[in-house]
Symmetry: C2
Subunit: 624 residues, 2 copies
């Protein structure tokens, strides 16, 4: 075998020796990119270079100039810190110039960020928080298998360190359960984590036992033997189960000074050392790769959405907003892009209402909230509009996935039910009391909190057209329907339910506390005090104009929320008022103590957010 010329075109029929040359180029470019940037992870890239060269040249079906082609495979770098390797692959594929790679990587304004994000058209999901790429891959593979019925394959490059994240095993469990033979995970077992040896080192058998026990096929391979890797990928493509290729590799492979050495994680080679490394690797190459093209996919019939007929509820009738969510979601199923996900509480969140009508678009992850979120992200990547629901309290389990979903820029709808002390006897473990703070802080998020079934249904439907992460907070108990059919609920709006020229105080509530505000207003009215009442169903964006007008006109504002005082509705209102330069006499009632169990009304009272407390807060402000 002679080496290919350094500017050759490498393709599926190229000799494996040429593929090895491509791998060396990926190493060289990983080193050059990170050294030029002064940061990055060259050694983590070098261990996986042979794996990725074989994939790129021979197995990844992809049209680099049409990343949106439905016949393209998907490649996820779950070990996102190996971004130099990924970007070097883009350079080899001819879509990122050498200049861009060497002069912009990790610099301000560059699309070649420290960890991959979908700012790049060939990147589906943001990674870099370890343990997330494989779960996303499961979501994409699920879309391919169950919804797209397309032959594309999802390839995920995983680090060995991240195999200690529970989320990786949630993902493999679901891959096995869903029978995702179109998923291949490749674990770069280079034995070294950030600060030293990994838990399992090079014990490929231990990994294989776990993988097999979780329902996937395990293949072990020498990760620097391109022929063996090539064969493993072939086997994976023919397998009838999801496959995990466990590749024994060496961190820093190809440059003896850093091979298998501790202390080199996340460190670029100093310039002179980089020069030696490039020389040792055979110098700079300018190979171009053209791997297998996209799979052919039958043109899909354009789907004709049926008209969405949202449920209606009679004013005054008692209906839980979680129930309205389920009914509205089932109605939204008329839109073929809508899918729903459940983490084994669909009978509580009412997500199962959708599942009964559209079982094919209903994804059950069992009790695995991280995988529920990741599946939603993967489905969104494949053009779906996922609605994922669990108890508001348990969405905190998936906080890191929600955060990263916002970096990925996907649009997904989340619903958290059973919010607040209102749930009653189940006690604090089941009470969502921090969810508004969590969801408000997510970049570009929308936070909605309906008080009645009509607004809940309308806002559930609105989420299907919102960009980014939207969140609907629903309540366990049934409360009177407040609004007539056809009432609009624009995102960013509010409803002023009581208003008059003599209003001396404004009561702001959402969810259960709105009903308490209405009762408090009645109590105050009986004493001759007119109170304005605002339904703040849109917590983010918040209706600053209406709040400020009310603050100016009434001079006093009481906010009551079934949530912790920090980061919730009270602070959202304060933020809005301060932004408009108006802060009146102000009181915020929230859940300050640790609640216990009990009937809903008693817990609201004990938490200091019931009608009596709201009226009393108003009296104090007016007296003060």
């Amino acid at each position: 075998m002679t080496a290919a010329p350094t500017n050759a075109l490498i393709g599926p029929r190229s000799d494996l020796a040429d593929v090895f040359e491509l791998a060396q180029q990926l190493r060289v470019d990983s080193i050059r990119a990170s050294t030029s940037a002064g940061s990055g992870h060259p050694t983590s890239s070098m261990s996986a270079a042979d794996l990725m060269a074989v994939l790129l040249a021979r197995h990844l079906h992809y049209d680099w100039h049409h990343p949106e082609d439905p016949g393209n495979d998907h490649l996820v770098f779950s070990k996102g810190h190996a971004s130099p390797l990924l970007y070097a692959m883009f350079t080899a594929a001819g879509v990122v110039s050498e200049e861009e790679l060497l002069t912009t990587y990790r610099r301000t304004g560059s699309r070649l960020q420290g960890h991959p994000t979908p700012v790049l058209p060939w990147v589906d999901v943001a990674t870099g928080s370890l343990g997330q790429g494989l779960p996303y891959g499961v979501g994409m593979a699920l879309a391919g298998r169950r919804l797209d019925h397309a032959p594309y394959r999802v390839w995920v490059l995983c680090g060995d360190s991240e195999m200690t994240e529970g989320s990786m095993w949630e993902a493999l469990d679901k891959a096995g359960r869903y029978g995702l033979a179109n998923l291949t995970a490749i674990v770069d077992v280079n034995r070294l984590g950030q600060r030293g040896p990994t838990e399992l080192g090079w014990d490929l058998e231990a990994y294989a036992n776990r993988v097999e026990a979780f329902g996937c096929a395990a293949l072990t391979v020498e990760g620097h033997d391109v022929a063996a890797v090539d064969k493993a990928f072939e086997v994976a493509c023919r397998a009838e189960r999801p496959t995990v290729v466990l590749a024994r590799t060496i961190k820093g492979r190809g440059f003896a000074e850093v091979e298998d050495a501790e202390g080199w994680h996340g460190k670029p080679l100093p310039r002179e050392m980089a020069d030696r490394a490039v020389a040792a690797l055979g110098g700079v190459r300018h190979l171009t790769v053209r791997g297998p093209g996209p799979h052919s996919v039958a043109a899909r019939q354009p789907s004709h959405p049926a008209a969405v007929e949202l449920p209606r509820f009679k004013q005054g009738e008692k209906v839980a907003t979680r129930s309205a969510y389920g009914k509205a979601l089932a109605a939204l199923g008329a839109r073929p892009e809508v899918v729903a996900l459940d983490a084994e509480v669909g009978n509580s969140t009412h997500a199962e209402d959708f599942g009964e009508v559209y079982p094919g678009r209903y994804v059950q992850t069992f009790i695995a909230e991280q995988q529920m979120l990741a599946s939603a992200v993967g489905l969104a990547v494949r053009g779906r509009r996922p609605y994922a629901a669990t108890f508001a309290a348990f969405l905190t389990r998936a906080h890191d996935f929600i955060r990263m979903a916002s970096v990925s820029g996907v649009s997904i709808a989340l619903c958290g039910s059973h919010c607040g002390v209102e749930i009653g006897a189940d006690g604090p473990s089941q009470m969502g009391l921090e969810d508004i703070a969590m969801m408000r802080s997510v970049h570009g998020s929308t936070v909605l909190y309906p008080s009645d079934a009509m607004s809940a249904a309308a806002l559930t439907a609105a989420m299907a057209d919102l960009e980014g992460i939207s969140y609907l907070r629903t309540t366990r108990g049934a409360y009177p329907v407040l609004y007539p059919p056809q009432e609009p609920f624009p995102v960013g709006g509010s409803k002023t339910l009581r208003s008059g020229a003599e209003d001396r105080v404004t009561l702001v509530g959402a969810g259960v506390t709105l009903h308490e505000c209405l009762a408090a207003a009645d109590e105050l009215a009986a004493e001759g005090v007119h109170a304005r009442v605002i339904d703040l169903y849109s917590v983010k964006p918040v209706d600053g104009d209406t709040l400020c007008r009310a603050a100016r006109e009434t001079g006093a504002v009481v906010v009551a929320e079934d949530h912790r005082p920090e980061g919730g509705i009270g602070e959202a209102v304060l933020h809005a008022l301060a932004g408009h330069g108006t802060v009146p006499r102000f009181a915020a009632l929230a859940v300050e103590q640790m609640p216990g169990s009990g009937p809903s009304g008693e817990l609201l009272d004990a938490a200091g957010i019931s009608r009596g407390h709201i009226a009393e807060a108003a009296r104090r402000l007016l007296a003060g």
Copy 2:
């Protein structure tokens, strides 16, 4: 075999037939308690009654009247919803009266809450968010094995549904790695989850394969065969590895109308049905159980803490607060109760500084943030003061565990490093931008955010004596030391670094933005505008008095934070000002867009939180 009299005393030497009678009593009392409350999970209790009767009578070494006895075993109900069973056990043990069980369960003010919490002296940790009890048990078993050197055993009753949570596998992985032979998990495989069959049903072999692959011993057993269960527990107690007893059980066992039936999860039996069930189970019993007493534990030498000598740093010297954290933590090691935990980033958070001095009290969980938190909680239960650190961004992974730790009422110290866009080139996946919102919303939490090494060291030390969850936010880069040695940093305080009678605006910062505020003040001073500068190192509790005085005296406040606008420092300041009835002209600068990669200074500038933006915001307020 004849049945024991219904008021007999059951003990370790009782006939197994009597133990079965105890199991029936637990069933009967579970039914009676939940029916009396009108809510609860009787069927989930009935499946595990035989398991718990055998445990209680024969294997659980425990002095019910001295729950603090260091020779006591620990029992965790990871399936916290089976609280009727747990409380029925307390009744059988004679520490909760039948009256309390039947008249207070799930009622307002009762210690017998819907899910167990440490309000009860026999409960170590709050459960009810599934997938958490076993991880906590691993922490307690780790304390027993590595720190207490005590013979107690940790028993954890798990549900089968929760085995789909990745956190359970993080726990078993660590149990195996740490060699926790003193841990026995009992999985109540009753085949039915909340809304239908579980993922693996009664496939005990599938569970066993997973357990064994994760390094623990698996024992399968018929869960209603008290003799078989007894033997399995005996084997587990002699095992040299952590053991998982996989018990095949029937949900609702003992009452044919609900046995193995869907639709009965979390539902009390209606009164008449309950009467029939009690009759079918042989009626009400009043058995008392006295199981094996505590293990004998050698009296421990009282430990003599050495004096803590905190590190000192020279004013003006550039030191990263994360580095100060590591040095202070290592110094705190002089206190024997201090332990430190790392999730494989100890060289970044500087937690490894502690590990180098005190390897025996340094817990490495590898990349498993949920288990890191759970281990911290378990260690706190056993009297330690755990410090757990990872990147601020990755603490979101453990949000649900942090939330539940506050319900458990434990005191633990968390440190989140690499906060904000300040980290630079690594990009948004690694930037903690939502952590303040998350940590502020935790009940009873303390949130600290030092700007220099002296305050970071002092606050690190302060956390060792704080109650509840405390959080220290540290910064990646090195900035000048601002304070002299001996400067006190009381929690709830602040430092006014620039102040004068002519101040026309107050600049509030913490961490990197404090340094930007100081530079902005210089810039404004050059224009003849005097600015007060406040170091808000204590974000919760916040120094409302100082903020209000500054607001009153200067009339304008600019807050700059390297965090999202929601739930962060800006809203904490607004909340404090509103609480004091003072809101001046106000501007909050925060990270509003999605950042990319780049040098720290350029990212601060792009985010609009650098000195120039702060000065400009001040000018706008003064002009407005």
